[in-house]
């Protein structure tokens, strides 16, 4: 038994070594081919000034800052939209998933219609449709709607007072020649992407939640109802704890897709990581490097999410055993 285990380990180590060697060799050939053709390679361009502006950025960014900082600003913009979208889609999806199991015919019908419509229309189309509806409906920036003192709504987005700025403690949006100046703005691009991603992913989350609850044996709810538990108690104490164990892994998959789907931002002009990396690629011509960077970032994001999910799974497992 010991000998067999050792042999298996040795084979695995050999395979891993072969894989690494193949990978190294691939990179080596690519680098050699590029050098032979006089194509500059390497990541030195990251330290150079970016030279382009980013429309909206969570991190303070100026075109004189380094390309690396530009990519960081892009990543921050990606996270700025994915994190709230993950929360919104999970909450909304759970509600709709529960709605699909409701005895109320109207509610159930509405939830089914929601899931089937949003799930079966490609996300890119949904984003473009939302975006152009939003930009067509809102008033021009020069004729912005004033919702409250210093709160404006227009094609340039929702302008709000914000801390800091040049003028003092608060930066207040004011009407200027070019529309609204100052304050913090939630642009139509950001709002559309947040809305589109959340609504689309919620449809998938709803199906996952429904399937998870239906996977709990019927005897469990029969027994709970026989014991005199209310419907709310039934869900809270019996169904949900057991369902969570089967819900979390597919739910993680959905949220992983959401993160990756956020790269569709380029279509509607939101400066996410892919958008910034695309611009960098064009300015510098370093295609292989920029694509590798995008891949590495998404890989890290995915691994982090998977790790978080594994941790959650362990916790809910324990919770389910306790209750």
């Amino acid at each position: 038994m010991q000998g067999r285990r050792r042999r298996e380990l040795a084979i695995q180590a050999l395979l891993a070594a072969a894989l690494l060697a193949a990978l190294w060799w691939l990179l080596d050939v690519t680098a050699a081919n590029m050098a032979e053709r006089g194509i500059r390679s390497g990541f030195d361009f990251l330290k150079e000034p970016a030279g382009f502006a980013i429309g909206e950025s969570l991190l303070p960014f100026d075109s004189a800052d380094s390309t690396l900082w530009a990519l960081a600003a892009g990543l921050a913009n990606t996270l700025r939209v994915t994190l709230p979208a993950i929360v919104i889609s999970t909450l909304l999806g759970t509600l709709i998933g529960l709605g699909r199991l409701s005895p109320n015919l109207l509610l159930r019908g509405l939830c089914i219609a929601y899931v089937e419509t949003l799930r079966n229309v490609p996300l890119l189309l949904q984003l473009l449709a939302w975006y152009f509806v939003v930009t067509d409906l809102l008033p021009l920036a020069s004729e912005a709607l004033q919702l409250a003192p210093h709160v404006f709504l227009s094609k340039s987005g929702l302008s709000l007072p914000w801390v800091g700025g040049d003028g003092g403690l608060f930066d207040l949006p004011l009407r200027g020649e070019m529309g609204i100046a100052g304050g913090a703005a939630l642009t139509p691009e950001f709002l559309t992407l947040l809305l589109g991603l959340s609504l689309y992913t919620a449809a998938y989350v709803a199906e996952t939640v429904r399937a998870g609850i239906q996977a709990v044996p019927r005897g469990q709810s029969d027994a709970a109802l026989a014991l005199g538990l209310t419907r709310v108690q039934l869900f809270r104490l019996v169904l949900l704890p057991q369902a969570l164990r089967s819900i979390i892994p597919p739910l993680t998959n959905q949220q992983l897709s959401l993160t990756k789907n956020a790269s569709l931002a380029v279509a509607i002009g939101y400066p996410d990581l892919v958008s910034v990396a695309n611009t960098t690629l064009n300015q510098t011509g370093r295609a292989a490097e920029c694509i590798a960077l995008i891949m590495a970032v998404y890989l890290i994001l995915s691994l982090l999410t998977a790790w978080l999910s594994a941790w959650l799974e362990r916790r809910t497992g324990r919770w389910a055993e306790r209750s």
Binding site: R40, A53, E177, A181, V266, P271, N278
Partner: protein, 388 residues
């Protein structure tokens, strides 16, 4: 059926086929497994290697080394396959765009046709590969196209660090702004705090940032990947200005605007955009051919040689025209082409002036003035070194 599927799941390695005597008619089965099959259609010629792994690695090595091996003479390859592979845009009216029948036309396309005529004596022997801004340089570097003729701006970074050579300038462009008249703007310097719609993947974004930084003005770019989306967003009022090369602005205003009269193009051009075809480094003969075909088209305009009067001009007494059209000295020999290389190019697409008028000038929907693209002796910048 199941067995057939199982065979499809993995590419048949050469060794498996050579080693298994009972392998039943691999070629016939290939048709049901289209993914990996085409490379292995002739099992007789494959090497007889006992184990599949070394065979797979050898195959992979071959594939990966192929691109390096072909960095030879582009001219020979073009002649051998009797086709010029030309990288063009995915659709820029007037420069390179496909019509409803899939025929490509435009100024950049005519350059490809002229080169095909000079090299292969047939302007139609061109395969057009539409490339977006992100793909274009990689496609040329990897040898997918022989020539990139895709309104690409000549800049130092591109010329010096991408393993490419810019050949000659076929169009002098500059970046401008389109704004709604309602904003009552007269200069780009008034665009303070404006949001400006722009399509990604050009030098446009950098120019925009450079110009307004120099003016000390803050603006917000809204960057779209697709041309259509950027235009739609601008005309729905999302941005206070739209920016791109001036050659495209005129078209966008006249063809895409809901009401052209509601929009105007600001007078400032904020950048120099010399556009021209690009070739790979390391093949000086091909570099010279592309460069001189373009010079010949410009020279033909200078000497008044047109598509229509070409045959009469061959009998001209002017030695410069005789040299250009190959009726006296053989200038083709020096380029590795036939004697009448330049005459063929002019016959195929006309001289530079004719190409300009037909695609972007007065005879086209764009109606762009010649401006700086006029010949040097008519107040423009188009100047070709002499063919002698």
């Amino acid at each position: 059926m199941n067995r057939r599927r199982a065979n499809c799941r993995w590419p048949r390695l050469p060794a498996e086929m050579a080693g298994t005597a009972a392998a039943p008619a691999p070629v016939a089965r290939m048709h049901s497994c289209p993914t990996f099959a085409p490379r292995l259609t002739d099992p007789m010629k494959l090497p007889n290697i006992a184990r599949p792994w070394p065979a797979a690695i050898a195959l992979l090595a071959l594939l990966l080394h192929l691109p390096a091996a072909h960095a030879g003479r582009t001219l020979d390859q073009v002649r051998q396959r009797a086709q010029l592979v030309c990288g063009v845009s995915t659709g820029v009216i007037g420069f390179s765009s496909a019509d409803s029948q899939g025929r490509w036309n435009g100024l950049d396309v005519d350059v490809c046709r002229a080169i095909a005529a000079a090299v292969l004596n047939d302007p139609n022997k061109v395969k057009y590969v539409p490339l977006n801004a992100q793909q274009r340089f990689t496609a040329l570097q990897s040898g997918e196209v022989d020539l990139l003729s895709r309104n690409t701006t000549w800049t130092l970074t591109r010329d010096a660090s991408l393993g490419l050579h810019f050949t000659a300038i076929t169009y002098y462009d500059g970046q401008g702004f389109l704004v709604p008249k309602k904003l009552k703007l007269t200069s780009a310097k008034q665009l303070k705090n404006a949001e400006i719609c722009v399509q990604s993947g050009t030098t446009t974004e950098k120019n925009l940032s450079d110009y307004f930084k120099a003016q000390g003005i803050k603006i917000k770019p809204v960057v779209f990947e697709k041309f259509e989306a950027s235009i739609k967003a601008f005309f729905s009022g999302r941005c206070q200005a739209y920016t791109t090369d001036a050659s495209a602005l005129a078209f966008i205003r006249s063809k895409e605007a809901p009401r052209p009269d509601d929009y105007l193009i600001l007078p400032e051009l904020i950048s120099k955009e010399p556009l021209g075809p690009v070739v790979r480094r390391g093949d000086d003969e091909w570099f010279a051919i592309v460069k001189w075909v373009i010079f010949a088209l410009i020279e033909a305009e200078e000497y008044g040689v047109t598509q229509a009067n070409l045959e009469q001009m061959k009998a001209s007494a002017d030695p410069a025209i005789q040299r250009l059209l190959g009726s006296a000295e053989d200038s083709g020999k020096l380029l590795g082409l036939e004697r009448d290389w330049a005459a063929r190019a002019v016959k195929a697409v006309g001289n530079y002036g004719e190409i300009f008028q037909r695609n972007v000038g007065s005879a086209s929907p764009l109606k762009l003035p010649r401006g700086v693209n006029a010949l040097w002796n008519k107040g423009g910048l188009m100047y070709a070194p002499p063919i002698r």
